[in-house]
Amino acid sequence: MIQLLLYVWLAGQSATSDAMQHLLAGLDARKKHQVELEIAEFGKATELDPSMADAFANLGAAYMEKHDYSSAIGPLKRALDLSPDLPVAHQLLGYALLSLGYAAEAIPHLERVGAQDALGIAQIQTGQLDEAVVNFRGALAKRPNDPDLLYYLGRSAGLLSKNAIDTLLAIAPDSARAHQALAENYFVLRQMPQAEREYKEALRLRPDLPGVHLELGQVYANSALWPEAEQEFAAGTKLQPGNAEATYRLGSALLQQGKVREARQELERSDSLKPEMPETLYSLGKAASLAGDTAAAEKAWVRVIELEKETSLAAQAHFGLAGLYRKQGKIAEAQQQMREFQRLQGAIGPPRSE
């Protein structure tokens, strides 16, 4: 791309001097991927005409091709001294400086040409995380599936989050939010006793803190402490009756304890708060099946399959339907569902244990 830009730019130049002859020879060498010859020809052009900005820019570009960023910086800077608006030189100098770790110096050049991706990387290094997130979002709008951009957006947002939490812990270490943040960290590290302790402290300080009951409930659920999980999820739904996730999790905790009727109520409520959630529908089907309401179970699981199609949850729904049909004596239907279950197991692997 750089090469193409140079060709376009050079097309408008006059070629009258010896320096220009070397410049053209250098461009010819580039076409033949002869980098050392490029450097020699562009170098002679700059010697013969020290005011030829394009010769310096091309010499820098040749060093860049060779990944010799240190050598590229001098000619690129000289090119910009001679022609301060040369976009290619700004772009290449920005890349070269960034590659060598001079992020702060690289930023003005990258800003000049609107190279959002490289600019974002430089801003991560200089701690300008808000700006980096904005630039990565902009770059992703143009290249939505670029893995590097997705990574850097995640990284910059993560660092931004970490900075905010570090600040929180520094300025208000005894606050409920600080304890919540610590708890979340422990939860990620699977250090459940510590997570439980911090969540409880957060709740002691601010019993009405939204979301903390839900998170504490998940600590208990993760340890299969279902009565405790139920208690926290119930507290969460009391604080936020419109929270579909908390309601779903309460239903699941009840289901794990065999409290089928109560579980079904909560799952139905979650489904009404946020319809068409496959996980909720699957659990709803399970609760209905346990309650002997096979029609409702069938309806919920069929809907899961329509929504999910080829996922492990769809496989589970097929398995549930197979059992349901087997009980009803619908052998052909049961076998069909079992075949689908086995097909999906083969395709996506067996469902993991609890």
Partner: protein, 544 residues
């Protein structure tokens, strides 16, 4: 002068009024057995799997004796061929004879059971009178080779493995005698865990070395030996269809789940689906757990199946299955719905809520309170001896689970054991012949724990010893119904253990019992007005 009634006294009486533990932890006088599993930094998986215990009356004196399977010495770095120093008395299996006063005497050496073979790391035990001579024989499983000990009837045993042709090989775990072809001779089923040896060991885990999950090693097949009736067995594993599927099998239990007159096999597999081998009645089996609904959880997930029991928990006359598993799963309860179909009912029965944080091994369905409903007992402990370092919410040593059966729903009860142990095997029987079922559990690196049933409460009971004539002498495979409760006669089930073969029934307030027996021979036998609170031997009629 009477002492004034103080608050302390009230609390004492209040405690007494609360439900007392069913069991009392009892010192086993004369038993000095320590299960030597020899854990090493190499984390050889065999270390965490032994050891079995059998409750059986080897000398027919009416008292239950106890046989323990020992592990062996494991060198820190072990190579093939392994040597587990089984000649060293520390690593012997042990037989303890029960004396009239309830104490035990170590008769291992006198009985000829002292040496288990240096290359054998002991696992489990099965008991059955394979030659119908009236004396129970022992089959000991190992990593290495298995050993069949013939009971000579004079207090001694003879290793007849070579002659009988049942040495197995590889890593055998649980075993059980049963008569799959109803020819009156007990056949033998052996589970094998995986294709493993010391040279192919792996260490798993990150910062903390752990025992590997089963999927780290190749699966293998189980063994089925047909009893020819002349003291020898034929390996019919392949011909019978048993080897058609690879397994990671640990537990095995037997019952005729579909009332076709032939005993079927349930195998608990670790980290995969469970297997149900339907007996086709023609010498072959068909694995049908998936279509029968007894393979996976209700979510279609596999189980870390370890122990298994195949009995009727809800008194509907059909054999149900309970499988013990690791934490984060629920112990699997597969209710027999009839017509060859099962449904997963861990949640409905309350079992799920009791078990999601525990690891279960040995398991039994026995009526501990004699109320007419079979209760559940599970020996518990995590498989990883360093699990606390990996997951602080889990515990290596656990208390056992005692769950009383309230008309088909299980409720936790106090087992009486207050110190967590690394339990593995659990065998069930009436050790002191008082009409109340007791439990013995084995613990890794420790002594066995005897939980003696306190009894009381006024409920009645009946204990039946079957004496087959056309059928195998032990009556294994018989379906016995007493006052509407059904038991399938077997000493197998649990994990690596053999239970008291006597069939125990709690009768509640009933002082008489109606007994119906369907013998493996097909003979039906009915006894009416059998007096409660006694041990009875019922002989199969010579003429049906």
């Amino acid at each position: 002068m009477a002492r004034p009634f103080k608050r302390r006294d009230f609390l004492r009486f209040a405690t007494l009024a609360a439900a007392a533990p069913i069991f009392e932890v009892k010192q086993l006088h004369g038993i000095d057995f320590i299960l030597q599993n020899s854990p090493t930094p190499q984390k050889y998986l065999i270390e965490t799997m032994p050891g079995g215990v059998a409750l059986f009356d080897y000398n027919n004196d009416g008292l239950l004796d106890i046989f323990f399977v020992n592990g062996g010495k494991i060198a820190n770095t072990l190579h093939v061929p392994e040597n587990f120093e089984r000649a060293n008395p520390r690593y012997w299996n042990r037989l303890y004879r029960q004396n009239r006063d309830g104490s035990f005497t170590d008769v291992t050496e006198a009985a000829g059971l002292a040496r288990a073979g240096n290359g054998n790391y002991g696992m489990g035990v099965a008991v059955g009178d394979y030659d119908n001579d009236g004396y129970p024989d022992l089959y000991v499983t190992s990593y290495g080779k298995n050993v069949l000990y013939h009971n000579n009837g004079d207090g001694t045993f003879t290793d007849v493995t070579a002659k009988a042709g049942v040495r197995g090989g590889g890593w055998s775990v649980s075993a059980g005698f049963f008569d799959y072809n109803n020819d009156g001779h007990l056949d033998l089923f052996v589970t094998r865990y995986m294709d493993w040896d010391a040279d192919r060991n792996k260490i798993c885990g990150g910062d903390w070395h752990t025992y590997c999950p089963p999927a780290a090693f190749p699966a293998t097949t189980c063994l089925l030996y047909r009893n020819r009736g002349d003291g020898t067995f034929e390996d019919v594993s392949e011909r019978s269809g048993i080897t058609e599927k690879k397994e990671r099998a640990l537990g095995v239990a037997f019952a005729d789940y579909d009332d076709d007159g032939f005993t079927d096999i349930f195998v608990s597999n670790d980290g995969m689906q469970q297997y149900l081998f339907h007996n086709n009645g023609d010498g072959t089996f068909r694995e049908c757990a998936l279509e029968a609904g007894a393979a996976l959880t209700s979510d279609g997930k596999g189980l870390s199946g370890m122990g298994a029991v195949f009995q009727d928990y809800d008194n509907d006359g059909r054999a149900d299955v309970i499988v013990t598993v690791l934490p984060r799963e629920l112990y699997g309860l597969y209710h027999n719905d009839g017509a060859g179909a099962f449904s997963y009912q861990s949640l409905e029965t309350g079992l799920g809520a009791l078990t999601s944080g525990s690891s279960g091994w040995g398991v039994g369905l026995e009526d501990f309170d004699n109320d007419g409903w079979k209760d559940l007992f599970v020996a518990q402990s995590h498989v990883l001896d360093n699990v606390e370092q990996i997951d602080a919410s889990l515990r290596y040593k656990e208390l056992p689970l005692l769950a009383l059966n309230r008309k088909g729903r299980f409720e936790r009860a106090d087992s009486g054991l207050t110190t967590p142990v690394a339990a593995r095997g659990a065998a069930f029987g009436d050790i002191n012949n008082d009409g109340w079922m007791d439990v013995i559990i084995t613990t890794l690196g420790g002594p066995p724990v005897l939980l003696l049933n306190r009894g009381g409460g006024g409920n009645h009971w009946l204990s039946i010893t079957l004496r087959g004539t056309h059928s195998n002498r032990d009556g294994y495979g018989a379906r016995v119904n007493v006052n509407g409760q059904t038991r399938f006669a077997t000493s197998g089930g649990s994990y690596i253990c053999a239970n008291d073969k006597r069939l125990h029934f709690g009768l509640g307030s009933m002082e008489k019992a109606a007994v119906e027996i369907l013998w493996p021979s097909g003979t039906k036998q009915v006894l009416k007005d059998v007096r409660a609170d006694q041990f009875v031997e019922i002989r199969e009629p010579e003429h049906s």
